[in-house]
Amino acid sequence: MAEPLVVFDNVVKRFGAFEAVKRMNFEIREGEFLAFMGPSGCGKTTTLRMLAGLEQPTEGDIRLAGKSLVNVKPHERGTPMVWQSLALFPFLNARENVEFGLKMRGLDKPTRARKALDWLERLGIGEFAERDVNSLSGGQRQRVALARALVTEPKILLLDEPLSALDAHLVIRMQGVLTKLQRELGITFVYVTHSQSEAFAMADRVVIMSRGEIAQIGPARDIYRTPASRFVAEFVGRNNIFAGTVNAAGNVDTAAGAFTLGGKAKPGENVSFVVAADVVSISTAKPAAQNVFAAQLISEEFVGSMVTLFFEAPGGAEVKVQVQERLLEGIPREPGQQLFLSFDPSHAHILKG
């Protein structure tokens, strides 16, 4: 089988004594939408910049389409990037900005103009081609930046938090534009973001990074349902982490009560397990189910059709329950209300480490 499009082979990046990226090994498949996510300073942007050649790895090798990139200069790589700041050239208009990469490749003027206009048209801003980029709105500038990167028909597009400067409603619209483009073009997108909603909404696979290391890599669903570590579970959020010791009966004694995990834990072990917020059931009367515990409603967060309820479980732990608003009819939701929560043992995921 052919090698994946991009291979990071034992890549280390140090800035002085600071190790920004610690021995990274991963692959990017051809045509996939891969998102890097993590708290600031986790090394995600450094990883992207190494791919673009704007930083050199201290150790290790990066291969693109089987060829080592270590001695390839940034301007010879063909890895265009969409920048957080957009980095549009203020002394060029929208069309000239898009033409820049083509001009560097030595294309003649009419071809350049035609390709640039095609792309601006495709992204719905053809009418602004001759406008000064500083006079365009955030969304329009975003599209100019995208067109500028894509006009050279690259195999791979790098995106460094491209939507972080946009208004919330524009972010949703641009997410649609990006995923549609990626499917149509079939090229590989490598996307860096601190926004979980952006990563989960668009990416085929998500890489969660922490302190220069990959904490987990996989489809968004896996990361949400089966986080690899406590860090990932906490970072992803909207889930509940319980910790305790497994007793002789095979149940886990936690501060919130004793829970059965359906034989997934061995007696004597100390375990942490995660239960996603959307698999916890709520009822007013104690249900005849496994893993029931009483908890006090503290507050709720209403986002359109979904609502997240925050409970205090016995022992003081916070428990989040995410549920569709209409399913809560008939359940009293005054703060301080005592309700019964339960979850199925099959929904508990044991954390390693």
Binding site: K73, T79, S85
Partner: protein
């Protein structure tokens, strides 16, 4: 709402502006107007008389030696501007992009130091260096070369102009280059633009204002300079500033010297306005 009340004069703001206005009026606008008036005066028996005659203007502007000096002065100033701008750029580029913050601070400090001593003193020092028995010729004589005639040549004048302009040009260029958003340069590399090419296609346009302002300073300083063409260039052929001195000394021809001075000021204003207009021009307008 169309009617606005007549604005009450803000005496506080006016009071603070007054010193500047009085100073500029007394020592700049006043003398300038007097000089303009003087250019129409007449000189009889070595004494200046108030008059309104165009004879000074017609006499000076019809003379070949005036236009020769004008062309020569313009040439020297343009040459000095180009040499300074081009010589300063690599140094400024290094300081702005490659040097550490610490090195840049020290460099700026050392570039300011020349201004501690008078330009005249520095030019006298260069006389010692460039003279026929000077430092340079002494050094190259060991190699069996020379002596080279450097003092009292156009080369000497140009050395003086660079002494005058180069530190200032490096400072101005460094500041304008250091303010460039480096991500734009990275974006250019990312889009296939090599290092050297990026200097011309991205860095220079971004720093345009600062680069032009530095060049304008070089032009103004060298176009009006008297010291270098006199002490290092040997005043032959004369520049306009030397011509002003000669004309006013010989036969007390202050009115004709005023004509030369006004021509110089007009040239400087035209160049400065054009260049600043170019520096701040926004694209598409």
């Amino acid at each position: 709402m169309a009617e606005s009340r007549p604005a009450k004069p803000d005496y506080y703001a006016i009071a603070w502006r007054m010193p500047l206005i009085v100073w500029q009026g007394l020592f700049f606008v006043g003398p300038l107007l007097f000089m303009l008036a003087m250019s129409f005066f007449l000189v009889k028996n070595y004494r200046m008389e108030a008059a309104f005659q165009f004879s000074n203007w017609s006499r000076m502007l019809s003379k070949g030696f005036f236009w020769d000096a004008y062309a020569y002065t313009l040439w020297l100033a343009v040459l000095a501007t180009f040499i300074t701008s081009i010589a300063a750029f690599p140094a400024s580029y290094f300081l702005a992009f490659k040097a550490s913050e610490r090195l840049r601070r020290w460099a700026i400090f050392f570039l300011v130091i020349p201004f501690f001593t008078s330009y005249l003193v520095r030019v006298f020092a260069w006389q010692v260096i460039l003279a026929q028995q000077g430092v340079v010729n002494a050094a190259i004589s060991y190699l069996g070369l020379g002596p080279w005639q450097m003092l009292n040549t156009q080369f000497g004048t140009m050395v003086g102009y660079l002494v005058l302009c180069l530190p200032l040009a490096v400072i101005l260029q460094t500041f304008s280059l250091a303010n460039i958003d480096k991500r734009l340069v990275e974006a250019a590399h990312n889009l296939g633009c090599g290092r050297l090419r990026a200097v011309f296609t991205v860095v220079a346009p971004l720093a345009k204002t600062g680069l032009v302002v530095a060049a304008v300073f070089c032009f103004i300083l060298s176009f009006g300079d008297f010291v270098s063409p006199y002490y290092l260039g040997g005043s032959k052929p004369p520049t306009l500033s030397i011509m002003i001195v000669d004309t006013s000394k010989s036969g007390q021809q202050w009115p004709r010297a005023a004509v030369v001075a006004i021509m110089m000021i007009a040239t400087l204003l035209a160049v400065a306005f054009t260049a600043i207009g170019f520096a701040y021009r926004k694209r598409g307008k």
